[in-house]
Amino acid sequence: MDAISTVNRENLIIQKDSGLSIMEKLEILSDSAKYDVACTSSGVERKGDGTGIGNTVSAGICHSFATDGRCISLLKVLFTNECIYDCKYCINRKSNDVRRTSFTPQEICDLTIEFYRRNYIEGLFLSSGIINNPNYTSELIYEALYKLRYEYRFQGYIHVKTIPGTDPVLVEKLGYLADRMSINLELPTAEGLKRLAPNKHRKTILTPMRQIQNGINNNKNELAVYNHASQFVPAGQSTQVIVGATPETDYEIINVAENLYQKFDLKRVFYSAFVKVNEDKELPALAGGPPLLREHRLYQADWLLRFYGFQAKELLSEERPNFNILLDPKCDWALRHLELFPVEINRADYQILLRIPGIGVKSAKRIIRARRSSKVEFEDLKKMGVVLKRALYFITCNGKMMYNTKIEEDYITRNLLNVKEKLPFDVNGVTYRQLSLFDDKTFTESQPVAEVVGEDEMERIQKKIIRVS
C-alpha cells in the first residue's frame, strides 16, 4: 500500500487475545483510554460529499454524558493497551499486570461506522499504547484510519494521538487523515517527565508538535493556492497536561500553556486532574482524590488567556504562584485592580467589558450590539446574560451604580463570596460539556448551553467585534 508499510499485516495483531469478544476488547480498550480528557469534536466544519458517511460541525456535538458528568462525543479507545514503556502514572505501564488486547483495523472501522450511523458519536478518538515500537504502532493506526477514510469514505471527526518517536513521514501521513492530532505533554516540566515517564523525553514530544504546527501552516498556504489540496489536521492540535502528579505551581502550568498557544499555535491545552491508578513511591498520595478545583481554576484561567486577552503574568506571579481557592481567576484579578473600576457599560470598549466579572464573551458582544441603538440599562444587562450579582460592584450604567456600593476590596470580596460560585462539580466530580462551552458558562452563568459557539466561531466573532468597536 505504501513504502513505510514493511510489516506483514497478517501477523500484526497479537495472537494471544484471539479468544476475546469484541465486547471484552471494547471494555478493556475504552477503560484504559478514559483518562485522556479531550473528547471534543470541535474545530472543523465539513459537509458530507454524498459518497459515504459523515460530516463535522465546528462547535462539536456531545451525544451523551457519562456518570462522571463528562461528555461523550467520540468513540474514545486505545488501539492497543500493550506497551513497552513504563510511565508511572499510567494504568497500561509495562510493569502492570492487566489484561492486554488490541483491536484490528477492521474492528475499529466496524465500531466507528456502526456507532456513527446510529448517531451515538461524532467520530473516533484513537490513542494507543506502544506495541513493539512507535513506528509499528503508528502504522497500525494509519491502516485503520486509511481504511475508514477511503474504504468507508468516513467524513466524520477523527482525533488521533501521535506516538512519541514516530517517523516524521508517518506523522505527516496521519495528519492528512485526521482532523485533530495531539501529543500529550504529560507533565508540565521536563523534570516531571523524567521522573514519572522515564522512557519519554521532552524532545520526542515537542518535535512532532512542531512538525504538525509547520504542516498546518504550510497546508494553509497550499490551500490558498490550490483549493483542491487536501487538508492537514484542519481542527488543529491539542495536548494534555496532568495536574497534581508532580509539584509544579499553577503559575508554571499556565506559563507552559501560554507558551504552547503562542509558540506552537495549539488549539487547546487540556488539564487532567491526576487520578492515582498505580501504587508507586514517586506518586503523591492525594488524600482528597483528584485535585478537581485546581483543574477547574486552570481551565478558567486558560479561557482568560485564549478569549479574554489576559496574559499569564497578569493572573499569577512567582510570589503568588497558585490560584485563589475561593474566587475565580477573573474576580481575583479584578479585586486586585480596583483602580480600573467602575466601568461605564455604555462607553467601555470590548476588551474592557471582557475584564468585568460577570460579563462573558457573549454578553459583552450583546452589549456592544445593543448600545448602538439605545442606552443600555441595568435591566437590559440581565437579559443579555450578564451575571449582575457579580458585575454590579464593577460597573455603572449611564453614570449610576446599581446600588450604593463601595469600591473597596474587603467589602466586595465579602459580597462576592456570598454569591455562591457554581462549580461544575460538587463533592467529588467535575463535568464537561465540550470544554469550550463549560468555561463560558462559568463566567456568564445564564448562558444556555446550546447557544455556545465553537472555538473558531468564537474567534471569528471576536475579530468582527474588535473591528467594529
Binding site: F65, E114, S373, G429, V430
Partner: protein, 267 residues
C-alpha cells in the same frame, strides 16, 4: 379599536398573515397577529381570519431574506417552530421593525437604526418584539441542538434506520438536513411522536416530511440482529468510559436532563 388577524399555526400561515397585515395599510401598532385559535376573546377587537396562501408566504419570506438578512430569517423560522402563544405577533412586529430600519438605513447612514447596519434587526435587543423572537429562537435552537445530540437511530429488520423523538417544538425541518448530509446512503426515518410527523429520507434522495397518526408501529419495533449487539456495545462503552473517582450523577443530570433519556438506547 385594534384588529386581530388569525392565521394558521405554521410558517406559511404566519407569513401569509404578515402579508395581509401590510395589505390592510393600517397602523401596525393597532394590529396583532395570532396563530392558531382565539384564546382570550377581546371584546373591542375586530377579528379577521386569514387563509394561508403559498404564493403570499413566499413573497414575505423573500422580503425577509433580502431586507432583514439570513440570520434574522433563521431566527424567525426557529421562533415560529416553538409553541409560544404570542410568537406570531412577535415575528410580525419584528418584521415591521426590520423593514423600517432597512428603509431608513438606505436613506441615511446615521439613522437611529445604526445597529441594523452592523448586525441586522436581531441586534436590536432593546425592542421587546425583537427580544421575544430572539428568546424564542434561542429556545428552539437549544432544542434543535439537543435533538442532534440525543436522537438515536435503531436499525430495523428491513435495514431502515428509525428514530423516535419527542421535542418541545417542531424541529424536524431543522434537523433533517443535518442527518441527510451525514447519512446520504442510508434509508432513514425520524418520527416526532408528539406531532405525528415523519422525516423520510430514501438513500441518495431528498428528504421530505409526512404527516399521519396511522402507521405500522409493529415494523418499527422489529430490530435487526445487529441492532441489539451495537446497543449493548455502546451502553457498555458509556459505563467504562466514566472515571469512577470523578463520579457525579448530579452533574450528569444537569448536562443531560432526564426527559431525554427515554429516547436514548444507552439509558
Amino acid at each position: 379599536m385594534g384588529t386581530i388577524l388569525l392565521c394558521e399555526d405554521s410558517l406559511e400561515g404566519i407569513f401569509t398573515g404578515i402579508y395581509k397585515a401590510y395589505e390592510r395599510k393600517e397602523n401596525h401598532t393597532e394590529c396583532k397577529l395570532q396563530a392558531g385559535e382565539i384564546e382570550n376573546y377581546q371584546l373591542f377587537a375586530e377579528y379577521v381570519r386569514v387563509q394561508r396562501e403559498e404564493e403570499l408566504a413566499k413573497k414575505v419570506s423573500r422580503t425577509i431574506c433580502r431586507d432583514l438578512g439570513m440570520e434574522a430569517y433563521l431566527c424567525i423560522c426557529q421562533a415560529i417552530a416553538t409553541e409560544d402563544k404570542n410568537k406570531a405577533d412577535a415575528v410580525y412586529h419584528t418584521v415591521v421593525e426590520g423593514i423600517n430600519c432597512f428603509k431608513q438605513s438606505t436613506i441615511s447612514k446615521n439613522s437611529s437604526c445604526s445597529t441594523f447596519q452592523f448586525y441586522g434587526i436581531m441586534g436590536n435587543l432593546t425592542n421587546p418584539y425583537v427580544q421575544k423572537v430572539f428568546e424564542l429562537s434561542r429556545s428552539a435552537g437549544n432544542e434543535i441542538m439537543r435533538m442532534k445530540e440525543i436522537l438515536r437511530f435503531r436499525e430495523l429488520e428491513n435495514g431502515i434506520l428509525f428514530a423516535k423523538i419527542g421535542p418541545k417544538c417542531n424541529v424536524l425541518s431543522f434537523i433533517a438536513p443535518h442527518f441527510a448530509d451525514r447519512l446520504p446512503l442510508e434509508n432513514f426515518v425520524i418520527y416526532d411522536h408528539l406531532r405525528h410527523l415523519f422525516v423520510v429520507h430514501p438513500a441518495k434522495q431528498d428528504w421530505f416530511i409526512v404527516t399521519g397518526e396511522h402507521f405500522d408501529k409493529e415494523i418499527t419495533e422489529r430490530f435487526s440482529e445487529k441492532e441489539k449487539e451495537y446497543e449493548a456495545l455502546f451502553t457498555h462503552f458509556c459505563h467504562t468510559i466514566a472515571i469512577r473517582e470523578r463520579k457525579n450523577l448530579n452533574l450528569q443530570r444537569q448536562m443531560l436532563p432526564l426527559r431525554f433519556r427515554d429516547y436514548m438506547v444507552e439509558f
